[in-house]
Each structure stands twice: as structure tokens, then as C-alpha cells.
Amino acid sequence: MDCYTANWYPLGEEAFYRKLELYSMEWGLREDLRDCVVAAAPYGGPIALLRNSRRDKAPSSRPLLEIYSASGLLLASVPWKSGRLVQLGWTAGEDLLCIQEDGTVLVYNLFCEFKRHFSMGNEVLQNHVLEAQVFHTEFGTGVAILTGAFRFSLATNIDDLKLRRLPEVPGLQQPPGCWAVLSQDRVTVVLLAVGPELFLLDNTSCSSVTPPGLSPSAGPFLHMAVSFNHRLLALFCDSGYIWMGLATLKEKFCEFNSTVRSPPKQMVWCTRPRSRQRAVVVAWERQLMVVGNSSECIRFVLDEDSHLVPELDGVRILSRTSHEFLHEIPEASQEIFRIASMAPGALLLEAQKEYEKESQKADEYLREIREQQLLPEAVGQCIEAAGYEHEPHTQKSLLRAASFGKCFLDKFPPESFVRMCQDLRVLNAIRDYQIGIPLTFTQYKQLTIEVLLDRLVLRRLYPLAIRICEFLRLPEIQGVSRILAHWACSKVQQKDKSDEEVAQAINQKLGDTPGISYSEIATRAYDCGRAELAIKLLEYEPRSGEQVPLLLKMKRSKLALGKAIESGDTDLVYTVVLHLKNELNRGTFFMTLQNQPVALSLYRQFCRHQERDTLKDLYNQDDNHQELGNFHVHSSYSEKRIEGRVGALQNALDEFNKARNDFAAKATEEQIKLLRLQRHLQEDFDKPYLDLSLHDTVSTLILDGHYKRAEQLYREFKIPDKRYWWLKISALATRGDWEEMEKFSKSKKSPIGYLPFVEVAVKHHNRYEARKYAPRVPPEQRVKAFVLVGDLEQAAEAAMEHKSEAEMNLVLSRCSPGTDGALAEKLTRARAQLLKK
């Protein structure tokens, strides 16, 4: 522990930098890195290599595209068969972008599996790619191209490709000395250097810019570097002079003269979020320089050809044999480990060590901290510093110190300690050589656990991902379920297993874990060309509605229809039905519906409002003559002319006959007959008869005095006697033809009796006429009749004759005490007598 600071290098007064080895690389590279196109993804991501692409142009040897983990384990490789590659780069989602000379960008996943490709446009295709850069902004991953015509084209988000061609740089006749993509106020611009001049290219214009405080003797720009967060810019000049400042070119931080006049191989920023220290790492063939706000710099000798990977909080340095991390020492670590530090954290660490040695010094140190009342800070420092350590051994001793200090505090909230222990366990697990994701604590917090889990899933490290979820007790839906779903999605791509096996394996593992969508997994299976597997998987989907979209996509429309119906969601049924309608020919479509009554009835409802003729076809298809008949009856009413209406009814009649619905056929026949007759009546009497029922037709005839015609209809349509009599007497009464009524009453014995005559007459306030019929009413209704005509005497007599209490009551209720006193008395007496018996 004494030599802990042995690898610390000071830069200026306050800052220390250290370089530590992450892995010793065993990727067995035979070539030098300089012979390869290299791209390493940030956040400890994978490394892509394309060997001997540039020098060896012999067509016989196909270059090899390889992808390694950060620890140098081969993840996958594939012979490069496409066009000449200019640049490799990684997207934020860890997809590999391979930019070809013709402007085509091929997208691979990190197992070298081709995903898709897109083109950077015609201009690029014609003039070829001279240089390319992959950059990351808040919009996603972008690609910038410098074409052979010295024009820039860029796309800020390759997932939502919108190509932008930047304006021309006036007078540019040769490639710019160097260039970079900047992101300022959510706008992506290109900064380029032509000799000693700088130009800023935005969407519409090209403007000349000058960095403030640039030394006049700087000379042409050879290299530029933009920081991870796009806020800082470094410029390297021909004279070895380095300018460092804001990317907006509004402020200079510092400058440094390296005195090296050859152009550097790479230059990247090495800073930490929230740190005041800013430094740039510059790499040449054999030396590495860390320069910042100090006249001195830190120099490292490079034994091997190296590649720099900028990170959020430092720089990774890759070479054939090793993988190192260079970063500024965070404050907490400085405080604790700086030689002779008296910071509370440092004292606490000492105290704990002494305590382990059972030395009383422990108490002394502890007392010193407590006297200053700095114990909480001490514990906090130790916890924080543990996070920055790569070695589990150091992590442990710091955490032990924190834990020790905590014992002497009453109310130290345990969360920070517990969380740090958990986080470090996760970090140590993924930093393992086999996994090879060398995330720092800072990067991990920036990346978030969700994204880290995604990355593990991308590497198909499902068991580890699940163990992490379980260890961190993440909710199932965010954690385990999601990972299992991804696992299942990759499982369906295993071509060597039968559909049955895969489906079963998936169901066994997933069961009915909440948040699992079997339909999503099935969709993936289908996308991989495994339709049968997809269907098997869909069987496990408990929500029928979810199955429908995929089934439609798979053209299993009939199955989809069944599932939609099962879901009980009629909107979904409609969706499938209308889909089927477009997909199938009419005959098959109808046949399909015939087997699905729910869908059929929905479709019928649709047709009823939208396509009445289709409704007819539907019934035709099914030989449903009854409904066809109804259909024609229905349409007959929209016919204005009698001929049209008769025609439609004739069709209906045919259908009813075919349906053997005698009643409907007869009724329709009668209606046709009536219509024809009504036409004659209209002609004869010049009065509308159409739309009248038989009853109303006859009634109208009587009202108009056409008794003969009415009689004729009565016979022709075999109107029942009762109806005819009712009809005729009420019409006659309305007409006031009492003479005819009397004549009619005597024409033969009334089938409805004579009470109706009384009622009808009374209704028309003709008591005189009513009285004529009262005596003809049969005895059992006579009381009622006499009451109606107002002849209470006779009514009372009849009631007493019948010895009916109810009838007597009826008459009594009509007796008014003033005029019918005697009668009432008589009735009351008779009733009393009746009750006595």
C-alpha cells in the first residue's frame, strides 16, 4: 500500500494522472495495429478490427473483420467481402458501422451478423468517401463524410436517416488539414482547417473563425480533438503548438508547446466530469504526452503501436499486448492516498489498518477525526474513493475503513455504503476477463444499470444479467422478464433446434412471468423466417388480442380472425375482417365469414350501413333466401314508383318461395295485389293511396263514400268479417253517415255484436244514434250499453234483472245524487237484498 501512489504522475500543482492496466491482451495479433482499421466502442465497449485492408490490395486475400471484447476475447469474425472500407465506428447501441468508399454504410451487430445497410447519398457515391467520422450526440449516432469533391455530407441519426449536404467551402482545392464534428446548441456543424485557417460549416453557410489567443507563430493546423461532451476543443499546429479551449471558440484555457513538429497519430481529451482539470493526450508513434494547464507535461514511452479510445472520464490505450486506462485521479482518492495526507478519509483508513493490527494507534487516529467532527466526511470519502479503485483489494480496504468508521456514528444513513458495495460487485463482475467490460464507476453511473443490462443481453450474457437483476432486486418487469424475453428472442434464432424444442424450452423458462410478451418473441421468430415456431409461441400468449397483429403479418388471417373474436375486442375483429376483405377474393372471404358468426354479424352491420349490395351478395352466397326476401322487401320501400316497388316485391316473392316461407310469400303477393289496386285507386280518385295498409285503404274508401269499392276490396282480400265490421262502422261514424250505418247493421247479423255500434256512436257524441243499438246488445252487455247511452233507468233494470252486484255498482257510480236519487236508492236496496242472500 505504501507504493500506492507509485503510478501517479503530477501535472501542474493540483492534478495527478495515473495509467493502470485493465487487461493484458491475448488476442494474438500478428499485425501491428497500424496495419488495421480499428474502432473501439466507448463505455468499455467491443473492439472491431479489419486487418490488412489498406496496404495489401491483392484480391486473393480477403481481409478479415473481427470483433473482440475489451479484454481481447474474440467475439466473432467474418471475411470482409464488400467494397473497400474507409472507416469503422460504433453506434450508441453497440452496432458496428462499416463505411465503404462508395458511401454505403453496412450495419453489423457485435457478433458480425449483418443487420442492414444504408447509403449516404448519390453525391457520396459519385465522388467517393475520402474520410469519414462516426459521432455521438443527443440525437443518437451520426456519420459525417468528406467526399472526393471536398464536400461534407452528414446524417445526425442513422436510425432516422436524414442526409444533409453541407455548403461548399470557397476555394477548397485539396483535403482540409483536419476536421471534426461539433454539436452546438443541438445543431451539428463541421469545423475544418485549411492550412492556418479555420472554417465553421453549418447547414447553410461557411464562416471563417479564429480561436482566441492563438499564438501567431502556431502555423497550419494538423490535428483537432473534440471532447466526449462536445464542449472542449484542442488544436495541434505544425509548430508543435497546442491550443486548448471551448469548442465554441469563445474562450482559451491554455496552450502548450510540445516542440514535436510531426503530426500526431491521435489526440484525445482526458478529463473527468465536474473536474477543474483539463488535459489532452497526444500520441505519436513511440511516445504519449499528457498536456494541460502547466508548462510541464507527462510523457510516456510507447513500446508498441497503440490506439487511444476516449472515454467519459479518461482514455483507454490499446496495444497488441495490453489495454490500459489513463485518467485523472479523482479528488477523494487524492485526499486519501496522497503522501502524508491528513484528510479525514486518509486518517480513517489508517485507523482501520491499525485496528486490524490491534494497535492503540487506531484510537488516536479516530479521536483526531472525531475531534474535528469529520467522521461522516471520512466515511463518505472512503466510500467514494472505493468506487474509483479498480483492484478489489483496494476497494475492500476502503470499504472496511468506511464500515469501521460507521460504527462510531449514530445516524449515518446506510444507503450510500450499501449501494457502493452492490455497485462494486456488479462492476467487478463485468470487468472480469471473461466478460470484458472495463466500466469505471463514473461511466457506469452515466450509462445506468438498464443500459448495462441491455449490453449484457447484446453479448448474450443472459445468466449474468439475470443474476445482476436478482442481486439488485430490480422489479421483474424491468429486470428479469425483460432479459428472459431477450433470451427467448435470441433462442428463436438457433437454427439447429427444432421448432418444438425451442418453443418448449422458451415456455419452460418463461412460464407466465409477468411482463413477458410471447407475441413479441413470436414476431422475432417470424422475422427470422420461422413461421411455424412463431405460431407455436403465439399459443403461449394469454392475451388473444396481442396475437392478432403478428398473425395478420404472417398472413394467417383466418387464425387472426379467431383470435380477435376470442379477445372480445370488436375493433380488432373489424380490423381483421377488413384486412381479410382486401386479402381474399370475395368468395373465399364470404366463406371465411360464414364460419365465424361473430365476425359475420359485425360485417353485416357494417354492410347494412355502408354497402347494402354486399349484404345481398352475402345472403346469396349462403343461399339464404329468407334474408334475400327481406332484403328485397326492404329495398322496395326506397322505390318511389309503384312499378319499381312491385318489381322489388316480385323479387322478394321469388326468394320467399325458394325459402318455402309460405306466409311471407302470401303476404308479399297480397301486397303486390294491393299496390296494383292502389294504383288504380290513385288514378280513379286522384288521391294518394300508396303506403296505406289494407285497413287504411278500405277505411279511406269508406270515408270518401266509395262503399262499393270498399266492399270489393273486402271480398277480394278476404278481410275477416270482424275486422271489416269494426272498420266500417268506425269509418261511417267518423264520416257521420248514420243512415248507412243503420243499413249496414241490418244487412246481416253483426259478427262483433252491437255494443261496438253503441260505443262508436257515443264516441262521436251521437247518443241518439247510440240509443238505437242499445236494445240489440245481448243481455250480458246491456247494462254497459245503457250506461254508455246514459239511460240509467234501463241500465238499473237490467242490472237488477241480472242480480249482478258488479253491474249494480257500475250503475250506482254513475248516479248523481241530485237527479237520480230515487234510482240510486232503489239500486242500493236491491244490492243489499242481494248481499243478504
Binding site: V573, H609, A667, I719, P720
Partner: protein, 579 residues
């Protein structure tokens, strides 16, 4: 749930929250369209909307003008249009190119114990056309009520639609991973019933006051327009009929014969209270005016309105026709003098009394008799066509399909259509397959059910309608509504045990499901609160009968219905109007 002991019925839960929810969601939707806009409303949503959000709320959210959907917008109106429509093909034809948002407004509380979905077309769509589109809203309504007032511990039901709605609701609950667990429920039980389980009750003439008002004046969305003949002035008055109306709430459930007596008693009391003024000194008079007069005046106003309504009803109903119709109805229910009733119906048709009434009586005859004998079936229909027009050929077809007007089957042989249907019912969706055809074979079995359940009370002497003994009072003591009897029996038995024969006669599809995850605490009041769901509509008579039952047994019935219905509405739904 046991009907143990006589206890006071619990108070119903507060359904005002449903209105607030609907209003908030509507406001939210309106705010999605910032700026002035014209609102187009489908005609049948006007009244419900009025109960949810009045014009001033709409104005507050930049609604400029209100139109009915059918009308064209006035030129120069706002440049944004907002349409409020039911998802129907015919209305969507008026509207093109729109973005859609769903106003998930399923439930309109009409009163403290009645919630309506205001879906009058449910009846025809489901039972006639076999259209399942409204099942989803029913399930969602249950889900909403369950989340607000549940969890419901026990669900009973009968009918195919009831079963499907219940299953869909359970599925929805499962998908949404119920959060309501462990909450103390306000409603403990739910009972779902299809209208086609009991057509008879819905076809009867209503004689409790609220039912009569509905039959006579048509209650719309909980309010009624009393015309000039009621208000004895030259204008109509719109009256909200609910528990807030002090007069109405006392007579709504009464048999009509006792209403008049009550009203005159009430007006005498009122007069007496007015009369107290005579002996008052100045101070007393001041108190009287400031405290009581307003209430008295309000009560007076309502009283005179209801008296007016009663008189108007009396005028219409005390005609001989009505008495005779009721008599014929009772004969049909009891099943005697069928020939006489048939002649009565025939005369009814011949005299063109009323197309709806004639149709209703024909249906009642058919459904109580398990179909008409072939001769009557033909002749009544012929008569009807001659009286009311040939287009009713289609009406009869509808009535046959739905099973309301059928011909007595000669034997039990399957018709061709039936065997075809049963062949189709093979796959997994079998349980959900519609069976519009099934009704062809369906028998109402009313007579047998009536005997089993004792629906026709044996009465010694007069049935005292003022002091009812059972639910039969809602039909003048002649008939206990079948639907309510089933509910009573099932609740009493906590299931369908012992009702197997009845269930068979009702064509099955019964269910009784306990949710084991819901704590079943018999001490909770919710155990005595029952949500009864009528799919296809329920009548005020049924509501009155169950309110009576609730009072008797110390429990509270809450009504959720797709719409308030009555015989006329049901018949109208079946009538095929001329295009």
C-alpha cells in the same frame, strides 16, 4: 349473501365520482385541442352530455358553438371541429379525416342507485343482430366500478352475454394486475342478467308510478318533459326525476292506485302548513317566510306537477281499454282463457288501437305460451299486416329471430338451421359464438318457470297494494317479476343450488364465481350492497321491485343497465321502419 334478519339497508356508494371522472376526461380531451373549437355532438349523446358537463363548462374550455352531428357547420365558424360520437358506421360517414381520441365515458349515474350506460341500441344489436361490439364497454364499465367501489367478492349471472361480459371483465382485471386488493369494498356482490332471460316482465304494462310515467311520457336520461296537459299552462316543463325530488321519491315506487291518495294527503298537509300563517305574529311570520316558505313553495310546485301528471295518466289509462288490457295481460300471465285473450288481441289489431301495443300483446301471448299455435300465428300476423302495413313482415321476421313471437314447434326435431349452427360450434371460440339462430329453437318455458318459482301469488281476497307483501305489487299483485325473483333466489341460496330445473328451463348459461383473493368479511356493509347489471335494459318496475326487496331484506340494490327500457322501447327496437 344471506337475508338474515331485518336491518336497515346500507346507503348506496357515492356515484358522483363517475360524473366527475367523465367530466375531467372530457375536459382533458378538449384541452388537447387548444383554441376555439366547435363541438359536434351526436343527437343521442346530447342528454347524457348535459348531465355531465353543462354549457358553461364547455365554454370555459373554448367550445364556441354546439351542433348536432347531422347538421352542417355554419360558414365562418371556428377552424377546429371536435366531434363527440358513438362508434357507429352511420355517424362516421359524416366525418372524414379526423384524429380519434376515446372519451371512455361508459357510465352515467341517473340517480343515487341507477347507473345507465345509455346504450339503447344494445338490445337490438346484441339480441337481434348478434353484434358483440358493446360487450367490451360493459366489461370496461365493470372494471371501472370494481376499481372504484370493489373489489366485488362474488359474481353471479345468467345469460350468454352476461357470461361473456363477466369473462372479458375478468381478463381485463388479470391484465391490469389489480391494484384494488386489500381495499375495503363498498359493493360486495354483482349480478349480471341478460334481458332475454326474462322478456315477460319487460313486456308487461307498468303500474308503479315511475314506470307509468315512463310508459306515458318517456323518461329520458332521468328527466321528463311534462307537456301542457300536465303543467296546465301553455308550455312544457322539464323535470329531473330522482331521489332529490321530495315528492317523487315518495311515490315513484308506489302502485298507481295509491299515488292519488298519497298526493291528496300530501297537499292537505301542505295546505295545513301554509295555513299556520294565520295565527302568526310578525316575528313568526318572518321566520316562516325566511325558513320554510321556499321549501314549501318548491314542494308545492312539484306536487302540482305530479298531480297534473297523474291526471293526465288517469285520462289516458282509465279508459276501458287500459283496464281490459291489464285484465288480458293478467290472464296471459296466469295462463287461463287463452282463447279469450287471443280474441282480445285480434280485436285490438282490428281496431288499430296502437301498433306498438298490439305487437306487445302478441309477443306476450307468444312468450307466455311458448309460441303461438300455427293457426293463430298466421292469422294474427295477417291481421296485423292488414292493419298496420306490410312492412311489418320484416318486423315479424325480427321478432321470430329474437324469439319474441314464434310458432309453437310441432316436436323437438332440430331445424336445418339449428343443426348447421351446432356444427359450427366446435372450435375454441364456441362459448363465444353468437347464436342469433338459437332463439329459433329457444323456448321461453314461462309457464313451467312460473310454476317452479311461484310467480303468480295465490291471493285470498284483495291484494293490498298499499301494504305490499311481495314484489308482485309492482304488477298489481298478479305477478312477481321473473328477473327479480331469480335475483332474490340466487342471493338467498348464495348460488344456483336447488335452482337446477329453473336454470335448465332458462336455457342455462348461469354462473357463480367467488373471488378468493377478496376478503370476505360478513360484518362489512358491502356484503349487503348488490350491483345488478341488466344487459339489454331494465324497467322501472324491476327497479321498484328490487328496491322493495332491498327494504324487506335490509340490503341495497344498485342498478347498472345498458339503458332504461320498457315494452314500447323494446317493440320499437324490433320494428323495421320504412327506409
Amino acid at each position: 349473501m344471506a337475508f338474515a334478519g331485518r336491518r336497515d339497508a346500507p346507503e348506496p356508494p357515492d356515484f358522483g365520482i363517475l360524473k366527475r371522472l367523465a367530466r375531467d376526461q372530457l375536459v382533458y380531451l378538449l384541452e388537447q385541442l387548444p383554441g376555439k373549437k366547435d363541438l359536434f355532438i351526436e343527437a343521442d349523446l346530447m342528454s347524457p352530455l348535459d348531465r355531465i358537463a353543462n354549457v358553461s363548462i364547455l365554454k370555459q374550455h373554448d367550445v364556441d358553438k354546439l351542433y348536432k352531428v347531422e347538421t352542417r357547420p355554419a360558414p365562418g365558424a371556428s377552424d377546429q371541429f371536435c366531434f363527440l360520437v358513438r362508434p357507429r358506421v352511420r355517424t362516421m360517414r359524416f366525418i372524414a379525416d379526423v384524429t380519434c381520441d376515446e372519451w371512455s365515458f361508459y357510465l352515467l349515474p341517473l340517480d343515487e342507485d341507477i347507473i345507465s350506460m345509455e346504450l339503447p341500441e344494445f338490445f337490438r344489436d346484441y339480441f337481434l343482430e348478434g353484434d358483440h361490439r358493446w360487450i367490451n364497454p360493459v366489461a370496461r364499465a365493470l372494471q371501472l366500478l370494481n376499481s372504484l367501489y370493489g373489489p366485488f367478492g362474488k359474481a353471479y349471472g345468467i345469460g350468454r352475454c352476461a357470461k361473456m361480459s363477466h369473462e372479458l371483465w375478468r381478463d381485463l382485471e388479470e391484465e391490469s394486475e389489480g391494484e384494488g386488493q386489500g381495499r375495503k369494498p363498498e359493493i360486495g356482490h354483482v349480478f349480471l342478467m341478460d334481458r332475454d332471460v326474462d322478456y315477460v316482465t319487460a313486456l308487461c304494462s307498468q303500474v308503479v308510478y315511475e314506470g307509468l310515467v315512463d310508459d306515458t311520457f318517456r323518461i329520458k336520461c332521468g328527466s321528463v318533459d311534462f307537456g301542457p296537459d300536465v303543467t296546465s299552462s301553455d308550455r312544457s316543463i322539464k323535470v329531473l326525476l330522482n331521489a332529490q325530488d321530495k315528492v317523487f321519491s315518495q311515490i315513484r315506487n308506489e302502485h298507481f292506485s295509491s299515488v292519488f291518495g298519497f298526493l291528496s294527503q300530501k297537499s292537505r298537509n301542505l295546505q295545513a302548513q301554509y295555513d299556520r300563517r294565520r295565527g302568526m305574529d310578525i316575528k313568526q311570520m318572518k321566520d316562516f317566510v325566511s325558513q320554510e316558505l321556499k321549501g314549501l313553495k318548491q314542494e308545492h310546485r312539484l306536487l302540482s306537477l305530479h298531480i297534473g301528471a297523474c291526471e293526465s295518466i288517469m285520462k289516458k289509462k282509465t279508459k276501458q281499454d287500459f283496464q281490459e288490457t291489464i285484465k288480458a295481460e293478467h290472464s296471459l300471465l296466469e295462463g287461463f282463457d287463452i282463447r279469450e285473450s287471443t280474441s282480445f288481441i285480434e280485436e285490438h289489431i282490428d281496431r288499430q288501437v296502437s301498433p306498438i301495443e298490439s305487437l306487445r300483446l302478441m309477443c306476450l301471448l307468444s312468450i307466455t305460451e311458448n309460441g303461438l299455435i300455427p293457426k293463430d300465428y298466421r292469422s294474427l300476423k295477417t291481421q296485423y299486416l292488414q292493419s298496420y302495413g306490410p312492412e311489418h313482415l320484416l318486423t315479424f321476421h325480427n321478432l321470430k329471430r329474437i324469439g319474441l313471437l314464434t310458432e309453437q314447434a310441432a316436436g323437438e326435431t332440430l331445424t336445418a338451421v339449428e343443426s348447421k349452427v351446432s356444427k359450427l360450434v366446435t372450435d375454441r371460440a364456441a362459448g363465444k359464438i353468437t347464436d342469433a339462430f338459437n332463439s329459433l329453437a329457444r323456448k321461453s318455458n314461462f309457464r313451467a318457470i312460473s310454476k317452479k318459482l311461484g310467480l303468480i301469488p295465490r291471493v285470498e281476497g284483495e291484494y293490498d297494494l298499499k301494504m305490499p307483501r311481495d314484489m308482485a305489487y309492482v304488477f298489481g299483485g298478479a305477478y312477481v317479476p321473473l328477473s327479480c325473483k331469480i335475483i332474490e333466489q340466487v342471493l338467498e341460496r348464495r348460488g344456483w343450488q336447488g335452482l337446477e330445473e329453473v336454470v335448465r328451463l332458462l336455457n342455462g348459461n348461469e354462473f357463480s364465481v367467488s373471488d378468493s383473493t377478496v376478503e370476505d368479511n360478513p360484518a362489512w356493509e358491502s356484503q349487503r350492497v348488490i350491483l345488478t347489471v341488466f344487459l339489454g335494459g331494465c324497467t322501472f318496475s324491476e327497479i321498484a321491485a328490487l328496491r322493495f326487496l332491498g327494504k324487506e331484506r335490509g340490503c341495497k340494490f344498485i342498478f347498472l343497465t345498458t339503458a332504461i327500457t320498457n315494452s314500447a322501447r323494446m317493440m320499437e327496437a324490433m320494428i323495421e321502419a320504412r327506409a
